[in-house]
């Protein structure tokens, strides 16, 4: 397999967006009959590389060679016609149409302009048989599970003499059984000689199916490895870039010493809390004034844990105690009632209300808690808003500006202010520093330290280990949607230790499921 000639070679690919160098001289090759995992953290350049390959983006530099022929696709349609098919993360099919219609939509077999339905169904059955999938091609796609829908998307993709199949996170919403089903199909296609480019965040899946791994980091190629020759820890290190981080940390302020904050009755004590197909049951305690960090790779279940603790998603398992007494966190309203606040990682969709003003956005949670019949007097609003606009240096400092006009960092600060004025006992911050400039980032980190010194508990979710290490008293490590370890952040804990926990994975600290 490795001796053969690559079907696809990408050489010296560079791609810049305004202000960002998304890909910097990246090489990538793909052999026929292999599953090749493309790995990297958020912003590493995986999506950009795929989009360059499939012609969604053009390149600034570099060449793409497909079967010894230099190609330059101007769009996915053209790429598909040349044999490079892509199944994107979101299944972009029409669930209200039949299976056969979905496979042939836009290129139905026709005669004299009329669709040949019989022919279409026959071809659809043949294609699905190739994937070993026995389903009714006349049934509505929506009546099948996500895994089957995913495979219909694959059937649609490989229909036209595909030589390269790109699967962008096909397993992110599948359960274990469905993943196994998908892998069976992938192996079959691989054995048919199709080259599969597989993107996932699940380490176990990489080691289960991939023959070869290419790692990207910050838009640069880290390396290409045979799966058998790269241990899991090595992979995690290469994705996160440990050596680099160690150097960086020398310049940073010393990490906060672990204190004796974890004493007495915990503020929040959850036992075996979980939600099917989101995160396996986990137990966690958070004390007053304690910062608990959630570490793990993208898609490891960090956000899912945060959402369960706020009631944004409903847990279907486990129980919760707030200050020793049983409590329910079934809805955000209930969680807020227990003094919990939550800043979502998805600022735009789940945080700000873009057309409302900074002032209105800031007072929203407090106003919601009071109920609409008891409006916050305007003078008190102005006081509160002015205080926090100043304290968090929200810019521009105009409370009446629509919040949608502010930069990402300032929007994040508005959201922080929204919760801070409610004086929560526990503040859940999901990626509060993502996508904001370094200045705002440090300000937010300093604020978290201040708040916890003042007695507020903080659950701090971040993709950056460095940040988690610096701020947290305790670190919970997640991997493949399971909480695999909880570490007290003392001298023994460093990025290595956390990476080991991430890499070692399940079975390590036996989490029942």
């Amino acid at each position: 397999m490795t001796g053969s000639h690559p079907v696809l070679t990408m050489t010296g690919i560079s791609k810049s967006f305004p202000g960002v160098r998304a890909l910097d001289n990246v090489d990538f090759r793909l052999f026929p009959g292999e599953v090749h995992a493309l790995m990297g953290e958020n912003g590493a350049g995986k999506s950009t590389l795929i989009k360059v390959l499939t012609g969604v983006y053009g390149t600034d530099q570099g060449t793409v060679t497909l079967a010894d022929e230099q190609v330059s696709f101007t769009g996915p349609m053209q790429a598909t016609a040349a044999g490079v098919s892509t199944v994107f993360q979101e299944v972009n099919l029409c669930t209200n149409l039949s299976v056969a219609e979905n496979i042939f939509i836009g290129r139905e077999p026709r005669r004299l302009g009329a669709v040949r339905w019989g022919e279409m169904r026959r071809q659809a059955r043949a294609l699905l048989a190739r994937l070993d999938l026995d389903i009714d091609v006349n049934a509505q796609l929506g009546s099948y599970s996500l895994a089957v829908q995913q495979m219909v998307a694959i059937a649609r993709a490989i229909d036209i003499k595909a030589r390269v199949l790109v699967l962008d996170e096909p397993t992110s919403s599948l359960d274990a059984g469905e993943v196994a089903q998908l892998f069976r199909v992938m192996r079959q296609l691989r054995d048919d000689g199709i080259a599969i480019l597989f993107v996932t965040h699940f380490l176990d899946q990489v080691y289960e199916i991939a023959d070869r791994i290419t790692v990207l980091r910050n838009g640069q190629l880290v390396g290409e490895y045979l799966t058998g020759e790269l241990p899991q820890l090595g992979l995690v290190e290469k994705m996160i870039g440990k050596e680099l981080r160690v150097l960086e940390r020398l310049d940073e302020q010393p990490r906060r010493a672990a204190t004796d904050r974890a004493t007495g009755t915990p503020l929040l004590d959850v036992h075996e809390l979980g939600r099917r197909s989101a995160v396996a049951p986990f137990s966690l305690t958070i004390h007053e004034g304690e910062v608990v960090g959630l570490a793990g790779l993208l898609g490891s279940g960090r956000t899912e844990v945060a959402r369960l603790l706020f009631g944004a998603d409903r847990a279907d398992h486990g129980d919760v105690r707030v200050q020793g007494s049983p409590a329910s966190l079934r809805t955000p309203v209930a969680a807020i009632g227990h003094g919990i606040g939550f800043c979502s990682e998805n600022r735009r969709a789940e945080g700000i209300i873009a057309e409302l003003s900074v002032r209105e956005n800031i007072i929203l949670a407090m106003q919601a808690a009071r109920g609409w019949l008891r409006p916050i007097p305007r003078r008190r609003q102005d006081e509160l808003v002015e205080r926090y606009v100043r304290a968090l240096s929200i810019r521009p400092a105009d409370p009446e500006l629509p919040v949608g006009n502010l930069s990402g960092g300032n929007q994040q600060k508005v959201l922080l202010a929204r919760w801070l004025i409610t004086e929560p006992r526990l503040l859940i911050l999901d990626e509060p520093t993502r996508g904001i400039d370094i200045g705002a980032k440090t300000e937010i980190q300093r604020l978290v330290a201040q708040l916890s010194d003042g007695g507020m508990a903080v659950l701090f979710v971040s993709a950056e280990l460095e940040e988690v290490l610096r701020l947290s008293h305790k670190i919970a490590v997640l991997r493949d949607r399971e909480m695999v370890a909880q570490l007290t952040n003392d001298q023994d804990v460093d990025a290595d230790r956390i990476m080991q926990s991430i890499a070692a994975g399940a079975g390590h600290e036996g989490v029942p499921s």
Partner: protein, 356 residues
């Protein structure tokens, strides 16, 4: 000069600038066609004139549109308001017709309470369908839009129910301080709704739910309650409008009362600058929109435009309003004619016409 251009731009980009311009143009066209159009006379202690008529006739539409504004601000829509007008009017008339003395004020008040009560129940029905069961608003309220007509017909037993009650009639055609009572009722309703939304935090919360439902949920807003509430408010507004419509003609016609008023109301809301996608709403804009639509209807009658073409005429004006309100369309238009030399004094004028 630059100051004046800046002022001009601020004025023309104001949300309600173009609806006001259209309203003024319509009034001007009427005046040209019929020079006495703007004159208002005092007769028997009452003011008379086309302007007064427009105000009086637009009162029911303003009422319905006020409730509709709140519904639309949450991202919903209420198609059942026309039927609700018919039902509440029919119930009030039925109760009055059963009184031994149709002129008794107590009887009329009970009738109003009954009509309003039933409307509130039906509004709660809409609210439950949308907020609790989660049916799409357009479908949920379509149920009552269709079924409500039948209900109104059942109440009037398929007849046109005529009453002879002076106190009830006053709601539609009575006068207060030389002006039609209906104007005061609409104005009072507008003030109540304004106070209800802007003096409490209801307005903010409605805009928040309509602007971003998911973010609102995560901020701890119980959006289902708010959604439920706006449908009830909308029904209450429709009920009062229904009283006015039936009082105007002293009879309840289950088939005709409030027919298509929901469409005019939606139009008034949109002309007033509230987005059908929900979010920020403007009660003042809605009132202006309702006045514009009523002026248009009056113009159609006043200019003797034949019934065959009147709907078409209305449609053309509405399309024009919508188009010039759309920034994209104006931008394209402006690019073709770069010399936008509209004299400033003309644009000052309409501002004074707003508080009608």
């Amino acid at each position: 000069m630059s100051n004046r251009t800046a002022g001009y731009r601020a004025l023309t980009t104001h949300r309600l600038f173009w609806p006001i311009v259209v309203l003024v143009v319509l009034l001007a066209a009427n005046t040209v066609y019929r020079p006495g159009f703007l004159s208002v006379q005092m007769r028997d202690g009452h003011l008379y004139g086309s302007l007064i008529d427009i105000l009086r006739l637009s009162a029911p539409l303003i009422l319905v549109a006020l409730g509709m504004t709140l519904v639309i601000a949450t991202g919903g829509i209420d198609l059942s308001v026309g039927s609700l007008c018919a039902i509440s009017g029919a119930i009030a008339c039925l109760h009055i017709s059963e009184q031994p003395d149709q002129n008794s004020v107590g009887g009329v008040l009970t009738a109003l309470a009954l009509g309003l009560g039933v409307a509130l129940v039906l509004g709660a029905w809409n609210g439950v369908l949308v907020a609790v069961i989660g049916i799409q608003p357009i479908i949920a309220t379509l149920i009552l839009m269709v079924a409500g007509r039948g209900l109104a017909q059942l109440i009037t037993e398929g007849q046109i129910l005529t009453i002879n009650s002076d106190p009830y009639k006053a709601i539609g055609v009575g006068h207060l301080l030389t002006l039609p009572l209906a104007i005061f009722i609409a104005l009072a309703a507008a003030l109540v709704v304004a106070a209800f939304t802007r003096r409490t935090a209801l307005g903010l919360i409605i805009e928040s739910v309509g602007g971003n439902a998911q973010a609102s949920r995560l901020a701890g807003i119980r959006s289902a309650r708010i959604t439920f509430l706006v449908y009830v408010i909308s029904a209450a507004c429709a009920a009062v409008a229904g009283f006015m419509m039936t009082a105007n003609v002293s009879s309840a016609d289950g088939n005709a009362a409030g027919l298509w008023v929901e469409l005019d109301a939606i139009l008034a809301v949109v002309i007033g600058g509230t987005s059908l996608a929900g979010g920020r709403f403007s009660l003042g804009g809605t009132i202006l929109g309702a006045l514009l639509i009523q002026t248009l209807t009056t113009t159609v009658y006043a200019m003797n435009i034949s019934p065959q073409t009147s709907l078409l005429f209305k449609a053309v004006v509405v399309i024009a309003v919508c188009l010039i309100q759309a920034p994209g369309f104006r931008a394209r238009f402006a690019r073709r004619r770069p010399s936008a030399a509209a004299p400033a004094p003309v644009t000052e004028q309409p501002k004074e016409q707003v508080p009608a």
